[in-house]
């Protein structure tokens, strides 16, 4: 075959497109760093409730479970945190480091330069509700002394508290599957509507809320006391009233127990608090960061029946002194 310059040029042009394009694209991948500053890529995935440092692309989003990002830095290190999301709006917030909240709109990319100047283990939060797994969307941000290192086991230990609760996130509740019994129903809602994450298992409380005036998120197993319910019998009768969905206002004319009016006032206020939520929390240090966790409003998300069930469950949680 006679060598034809035109043919060769055509072939070269085709080759240039076929080989050159992926090479150029790969060279400018965000997972390659050409500058001197380390870039930490963080991608939010709402269905899994995580920020991940893994590479997320069109191909692997379908079948992969990504690893929750645990960010490790050394004191004095300068990095660029690069945030993206693959589905909905998320945010990234480390109150103790006054980093963020960075609102990450889907389809945009946010570069946030950050210098580590205090050592410690910090928690990052997503503060913009991003679906069923939102309340699980937190992880650890570790700043070590320079030269220090952290082993895999230690990392696992640090992360332990966060990952164990994931079972509730992966299965959104089907309303038809709710148990009939009011206390079981309340328990299930308490867990599946994610109250459990902030208020603790069984409402035991103790979850730290950075720079919150009361330090920790209120415990709820003592709800009966807050409602001024004197003893277990009364508590049971109130649960019974909740079960039959009684009109509490009407009962005021003929109170079933002595402190009923005080109970009713408290009951209504708690009920209202669940409906309204609390957006702005009192800060411990007024110049400090905004507390990351706040009570959501449940007005359009829980029916009065469901709120009653949760309240009944919590009243039932009280440890009565014999």
């Amino acid at each position: 075959m006679k060598i034809n310059t035109k043919e060769i040029l055509g072939g070269l042009a085709l080759l240039l497109v076929l080989v050159g394009t992926p090479l150029v694209i790969n060279y400018f991948s965000p997972w390659r760093n050409h500058g001197s500053t380390r870039i930490i890529n963080l991608t939010a995935i709402s269905t899994q409730g995580i920020w991940t440092a893994d590479k997320v692309d069109g191909l692997n989003i379908w079948n992969s479970v990504f690893k929750k990002a645990t960010i490790v830095m050394h004191k004095g290190e300068k990095v660029i945190l690069r945030f993206t999301t693959v589905d909905v709006t998320h945010s990234f917030y480390i109150p103790e480091l006054k980093l963020g909240p960075v609102f990450v709109d889907a389809g945009h990319l946010y570069d946030v330069p950050f210098t580590a100047d205090t050592t410690g283990i910090f928690t990052y939060y997503c503060t913009s509700i991003c679906g069923h797994c939102h309340f699980y969307m937190q992880g650890k941000f570790i700043i070590l002394d320079s030269g220090q290192d952290v082993s895999e086991e230690e990392l696992a230990k640090i992360n332990k508290g966060i990952d164990t609760t994931l079972q509730f996130c992966s299965t959104p509740l089907n309303d038809n599957l709710l148990p009939k019994d009011i206390i079981l129903k309340g328990k299930m809602l308490f867990e599946n509507r994610n109250c459990i994450l902030c208020h603790g298992k069984g409402g035991k409380g103790g979850v730290k809320n950075t720079n919150y005036a009361k330090t920790t998120i209120p415990e709820l197993f003592t709800l009966a006391e807050k409602l001024k319910i004197p003893d277990k019998e009364t508590a049971d009768s109130i649960i019974q009233l909740l079960r039959i969905n009684a009109d509490f206002d009407k009962l005021n004319n003929n109170p079933p127990f002595r402190t009923y009016s005080r109970f009713l006032a408290q009951f209504k206020s708690i009920n209202q608090k669940i409906l309204d939520g609390a957006n702005i929390l009192q800060k411990a240090d007024s110049l400090g960061p905004v507390p990351p966790l706040c009570m959501p409003s449940w007005e359009y998300y829980l029916t009065q029946d469901e709120i009653n069930a949760i309240l009944a469950y919590l009243i039932n949680q009280n440890k009565w002194e014999l």
């Binding site: 909905v88 709006t89 913009s128 509700i129 309204d276 939520g277 359009y300 998300y301």
Partner: protein, 169 residues
Amino acid sequence: MKKLKIILFVAIFSLIGCCIGIGLGWTSKKPVRHNFVIKARQYSYDPAVIVVNRGDTLNFKLVSMDVVHGFYLEGYDIDCEIHPNQKTFKLRHPSQGHFWKDTTDFTVIAKGYGKFKYRCSHTCGTMHPFMQGEMIVEPNVPYHASWGGFVGFMIGMISMFYLMIKKKL
């Protein structure tokens, strides 16, 4: 010239149809106030269709049931960002740029005629670009007019061919 005559002929039929359509569909009611709570979820609004009358006062409260959604009401210069589990949402007027303010509700007066869509303006998942609801301001003049107009157009075309075969056009 013949072409122009034909076009005029059909156009007159369509116009008459338009007028009849508008006339039949015309309503004028005393303005009232509506309070809407619009719940956004992946990937629709509830209510998906709201029907109001021109001049009505419309009060909107926006709620998101799952993730962050938007509410871009076309023709009214309204764009909102709705966060779930919050009583407030963010509102801006697109013509004034990106200045968001927190609010619990907003009020507009129904103006114009016909269908105005509200669309999601914040990417909320795969089907986000198709997430929309519709606000219909009665009387729906474009709709009635095009009904009448299309039927008139058809009658005009048929009559045109009738005249053509009778050699009158």
